[in-house]
Symmetry: C2
Subunit: 313 residues, 2 copies
């Protein structure tokens, strides 16, 4: 059996995973992200110990533990360089947890882990190479080529949202201008809509709402609202530029779209396919299939488990 | 011994390569790029047969043949989908040549082959992962991660010059706007200089010349000519965006610059390092080393040989 842990800003979610990739037991604790590193680590090991007891009850042994974290991990899935929103960084998380748990541990970035989950049991299952793009507050993702995750030489690879794809009216929080996530994330489309509403008098149903979210924008676009449609088209235009960049650079077999914005569903995929097909380097050569990601909340646990299983081999 | 063949628009250049990667015999014939495919293939096999005889004279046997071509190669280094400037496409080049030569053949894109040469015996020799960017008429290159060339699922990977990095005043010949090669190639900087000279009255030494090439632009920039410096800065700005995109996506150990424009040398590397360092996602994490490529004309032959040797294993 394997233990997968999804460390997030809110909670430490763990699962006991069987050989088929099914979660058979779950355990979670609040992260308490502001606490001292040792307190957070202690609660991670509490989740692990609890799941180990549950494995024991089934006469099973846990062979390896995988941990997905929202940060940059280096030194062969061991060292946490930095971590978004959690008070853990510059720490050998692998070693710290192994000392407390007596089982081999591997750590990876949560976006890589989500891509591994899609690759093992989700939308990228039947492909040798694939990219997961998660369209949420930002744009994240993971890249898998011939079964190997592209982690980068310094643990900083697959920051797919920070590929410059154009010029935008506001700078990215990474300091550059034109990053994919400033166009094609929930934040990006919301900022654009707010700008249009403030600077124009264009009539739109969006003006009737106190709070505009991505779902409302996409739903209004589907119904033909011109302002919403313009924003969706801009979102799609730059996402298509990013996708064609990935096709031109890495030529994967499939690209899956996950994250909150991907709930726009096949409507988004259809718009993207149309835009992508206009921009190909060569019309004669087959390209990556565009798909919707399949896994939901448990992807972090499952992916962390498979990540560790693959590295444990 | 290995035979490496560099098929170019002008000539079919072949070399007999020993185990250390040294070319010990050479042979070339004109390509006659407009001729019937079978005539071109016949001359490729003539070069091979000649080199095989020379191996025989030394009591050596040729174990495998590598062929680098300016085109898209698919189906496990066999099928030439399309080929720039040479009348060869939609042809199983591996099979055709193997039938005539009785030795195993592998075919690869010439940019991948150049990257392999740098990785095996040149500027990327001491790294696990690296990217070669060739800055010439266009921008080409190859990507190697953990010793593996990223060829793409359909043979169309590593079209690194066709990553959109901004918005330009003219479209790329691939049909998109803002491709890296429209900013940071000899063509890109020349088009920009011509536009500035035509649209402004800015004084510059460049106006004294009938023909302006990249070397003149870089030399004038080094001497402080404002117009040349502006063009070089623009070239560097967008190349740095491309390089930081590669760092954010693939996080390689090193990035090497080759091609004609790289003859601007350390001056170019220094400008790039300065620009890149301003744009990093995280200032705390080590990044790829920027270097000049080391191999010159024989890179195509050597790389084709190593490509075949690696696939033959």
């Amino acid at each position: 059996m394997i233990i997968g842990i999804d460390l997030g800003g809110m909670s430490i979610k763990g699962g006991l995973i069987n050989d088929s990739g099914l979660i058979i037991e779950k355990k979670s604790l609040p992260t308490g992200a502001w606490r001292k590193p040792q307190e957070i680590i202690r609660d991670i090991t509490r989740v692990i110990d609890d799941l180990k007891l549950k494995a024991n009850d089934r006469d099973e042994v846990v062979s390896v533990i995988g941990l997905g974290v929202p940060g940059v991990v280096s030194h062969n899935n061991a060292f946490l360089e930095k971590c978004a929103n959690i008070n853990l960084e510059q720490i050998d998380l692998k070693k710290e947890i192994e000392l407390l748990c007596n089982t081999q541990v591997f750590v990876d970035n949560d976006a890589n882990v989500a891509a591994i989950a899609e690759y093992e049991v989700g939308s990228l299952k039947n492909y040798n190479s694939g990219i997961l793009l998660t369209l949420g507050t930002g744009v994240g993702g993971g890249i898998i080529i011939d079964g190997n995750v592209i982690r980068g030489a310094h643990g900083a690879g697959a920051e797919v949202g920070h590929m410059v794809v154009g010029e935008n009216f506001y700078d990215c929080n990474c300091g550059r201008n034109g990053c994919l996530e400033t166009f094609s994330s929930a934040t990006g489309i919301n900022k654009y809509i707010n700008k249009v509403l403030a600077e124009t008098k264009s009539p739109t149903v969006l003006r009737d709402y106190d709070r505009i979210d991505t779902k409302l924008i996409f739903d209004s676009a589907k119904k033909g609202d011109a302002v919403a449609l313009d924003a969706v088209n801009r979102f799609v235009k730059y996402l298509a530029i990013g996708i064609v960049n990935f096709i031109n650079i890495l030529d994967p077999e499939a690209i899956a779209l996950g994250g909150g914005v991907s709930h726009a569903g096949q409507y988004l995929v259809d718009l993207l396919e149309k835009e992508v097909s206009k921009s190909l380097y060569s019309k004669d050569i087959e390209i990556a299939e565009l798909k919707l990601a399949e896994l939901q909340n448990d992807a972090g646990i499952i992916g962390a488990g498979f990540m560790a299983k693959n590295l444990h081999k």
